[in-house]
Amino acid sequence: MDKKTAAVSMRNITKTFGTITANSDVSLDIYKGEILALLGENGSGKTTLMNMLSGIYFPDAGQIFINGQEVSISSPKEAFNYKIGMIHQHFKLVDVLTAAENIILGLKESGRLDLEAASQRIRNICDTYGFDINPSQKIYDMSVSQKQTVEIVKVLYRGADILILDEPTAVLTPQETEKLFNVLRNMRNDGKTIIIITHKMHEVEAISDRVAVLRAGRYIGEMKTSETNAQEMTNMMVGRPVSLNIDRPEPVDPAPRIIVDGLTVRSSDGILKLQDVSFTANSGEILGIAGISGSGQKELLEAISGLQAAEKGSITYISPDGVHEELLGKNPLDISRLGITLSFVPEDRLGMGLVGNMNLADNMMLRSFRSGKSFFTDRKTPWHLAEKVVKDLEVSTPGISTPVRRLSGGNVQKVLVGREISSAPTVLLTAYAVRGLDINSSYMIYSLLNEQKKNGVAVVFVGEDLDVLLELCDKILVLCGGKVSGIIDGRHADKNEVGMMMTRLGGGKDDE
């Protein structure tokens, strides 16, 4: 053996869920003092594989070695014993507890509960790696990036040497991402082993030493980051050459469709969510909305679609034949009764856009069940619509009567988007339409949006990946803390500039 011992070795790991094989015969080595990027499309089994390291799942077959010793990790607690810590994509934090309480949760320390001592240790860790959190702040008062910091500190507090981060940058701005990467580099230099799960190529290039690629649950290969490039990695991930360019056709006859003027929205507990927001969404254009998550994107889309009451302002809809209608103060039913077909693909697909336990046909019916005077519902039309959506958008499903909850993320989104565009809308609002989708599904969604744009629909695209926003949208509106930080032309925007605008109004000096 001329090689050093691997910090973690996984050998022939297989894991199935019912009839779905999440991992099949995967072998992987990770060494001390390196950052490994685990790359793969959604559903390729990256998270499942790592969950078996962190004790959430137990492999059906295969072995795990830590520092050369075979181990069995059947619970998160045992994972801690091997100094493995995982930062999940969905934060595992208790909202009503403070940061310090969350960090010491479940620890078997002797003695009384001493939050002050714990807070001191937390501050020390923060100082070492350059974090900034307040140990006595409640989680529900925190921003997403603060919550992520708590997660990382939690793992470090437990003395983890092997850190697994599951898509840590999905919710961060470019600046926050850079800060996180600096911390990770510090840790690597400190001798820690870091595995980062991602599907963003430029991040792999920026942070990792080595890349391992999974596809459809199988191990495909690994290489040094310095010896590869984005195109090669993508091809390995997808299994065939793919074009990474997003189409952006020129708008045809854009005309104002939605005019938002001075919109101010307060949440039910009195917090200002949107402040004096004004913009125009044109037909035949895609308007991108950028911003740190929670900057008012949700409230903005919900206000337009009639789900959110506003304190001030107006939202005017101008129909293709020039009729003006005020949308504020109307609920979704009122809006559709005005004859306006306004489609909305919400962020929470199974919790808002669809009903997980209902089948495809019943979900198609959500929009149309009121049609007709009969006391009873029409079941035939939605069934045919579901068949059409399945065929047109290549939804992979056992059948129309399968509950949508059982479909994979990409197929769920296709069902939702398929239903929303089936009504021939004049406005299409989408929130994080490609979140969690693999490359193929994402490109299908982009082309569907472009198709709507060509049909003269005003498309609003709330996104988180700046690269996508810059390539897809005609105009980009940047939100920062509920205010419009600026509206720029998508064709001439600079990524760093947008990133700055997301954190500071106008992207200039700190004037909050």
Binding site: S72, L307, P332, M352, F375, T377
Partner: protein
């Protein structure tokens, strides 16, 4: 930590789906095991042989023609309450206030019979009783629903408390109307005139109830499965956010559904007083408001399945109560047996939803 290589002994996964006949098969097995356990317990308590125990149960429920009719009446009433609760449960609204809603229906019926008996022609009186009882039940159910719709007030406890308020209200009126004074009983209302008594159909005083409930079962099945209201109820139950998103007025659906739920509870009260018992006591609802929760849940809130589950529960109750009588045990023995059987059925749902995998072997089921 030493190095173990074995996997956990038992591994649990969620099933994809199970054919309905298999699911009912598992429930049936659970009931059979429960009956064996009940038989053993009864044998231990009485020293009698287990076969005699089961024979007694069977006789208690189905022994004579009169008993079969009583069984049918029991099933009809249980089914009626279960049907009442079902729309609410489908909406994930835990209406535990069936007991109070029935009692208020009983109270309204009684009030009409006592105050207006003999003053109105009988058909008019019966019509008025029906309207009052149904309205009273609906109002009783809609009070918690209103607060649920407006402020998301916890309905489980609210409806539970409403039961006791109803009980005290009934107790109050029993003292006011008691015959003779100081007896604490109302006795049979309008025994001479039979004013407000429902007509007896086919010589069987339970027949009317059975017919009404049978029709109601089918109507409820169709309502929940095929009507727009039924669809709205399901959507609200699955996700209030989705309901809002597609423009369903959630508070309206909650209130409308609970009006219906309470109205049917009121109807149960009407049938209990007007058609069969012709009297009012605080225990007239007889715990049906609670048992019906379990009946409805066992049938997975499907009205047709509830025919089966209410038969099962009522049969067991009658049988268990016969055992207590014959073997001169306390009447509460029936509750214990019912409880044991329920525990088994509740536990059996696990094997319908989940699958066990044992180490070494592939798939096995308990």
């Amino acid at each position: 930590m030493n190095n173990r290589t074995e996997s956990p002994l038992i591994h649990i996964t969620k099933r994809k789906a199970m054919a309905w006949y298999k699911a009912w098969g598992i429930r049936l097995i659970a009931v059979l095991i429960a009956l064996v356990v009940c038989g053993i317990i009864t044998t231990l308590m009485t020293g009698d042989n287990p076969i005699a125990v089961y024979a007694t149960m069977w006789k208690g429920a189905m022994g004579t023609q009169r008993r079969i009719w009583a069984l049918c009446q029991g099933i009809a009433m249980m089914l009626c309450v279960s049907l009442a609760l079902t729309p609410a449960f489908r909406m994930r609204y835990w209406n535990l206030g069936g007991e109070g809603q029935i009692l208020i229906g009983c109270l309204a019926t009684t009030a009409c019979m006592i105050l207006l008996g003999g003053k109105l022609p009988n058909p008019l009186l019966i019509a008025l009783m029906s309207v009052c009882a149904i309205a009273a039940g609906a109002v009783w159910a809609v009070i918690p629903a209103f607060f649920k719709a407006k402020w998301n007030t916890n309905e489980t406890l609210f409806t539970l408390m409403m039961n006791y308020v109803a009980t005290q209200l009934v107790a109050y009126f029993i003292i006011i109307w008691e015959v003779p004074k100081g007896s604490g009983n109302i006795g049979i209302i309008n025994q001479q005139t039979e004013a407000g008594w429902f007509p007896v159909i086919g010589g069987q005083r339970y027949m009317l109830n059975i017919i009404i409930v049978s029709i109601l079962t089918i109507v409820m099945f169709v309502y929940l499965r095929y009507s727009k209201h039924g669809y709205e109820i399901s959507v609200v139950g699955e996700s209030e956010n989705t309901a809002r998103y597609i423009g369903i007025n959630v508070p309206k659906v909650i209130i409308r559904t609970l009006l219906l739920s309470g109205a049917i509870c009121g109807l149960t009260g009407l049938l209990l007083v007007g058609a069969t018992d012709h009297t009012l006591t605080t225990s007239l609802a007889g715990g049906r408001g609670f048992t019906a929760v379990m009946v409805a849940w066992l049938a997975k809130f499907n009205p047709l399945g509830m025919v089966l589950s209410s038969f099962l529960i009522v049969f067991l109750q009658k049988g268990a109560s016969e055992i207590s009588t014959i073997f001169s045990l306390n009447q509460s023995f029936g509750d214990i047996l019912t409880g044991i059987i329920l525990f088994f059925i509740i536990g059996s749902e696990f094997f319908i939803t989940y699958q066990l995998h044992f180490r070494h072997s592939g798939k096995k089921e308990a």
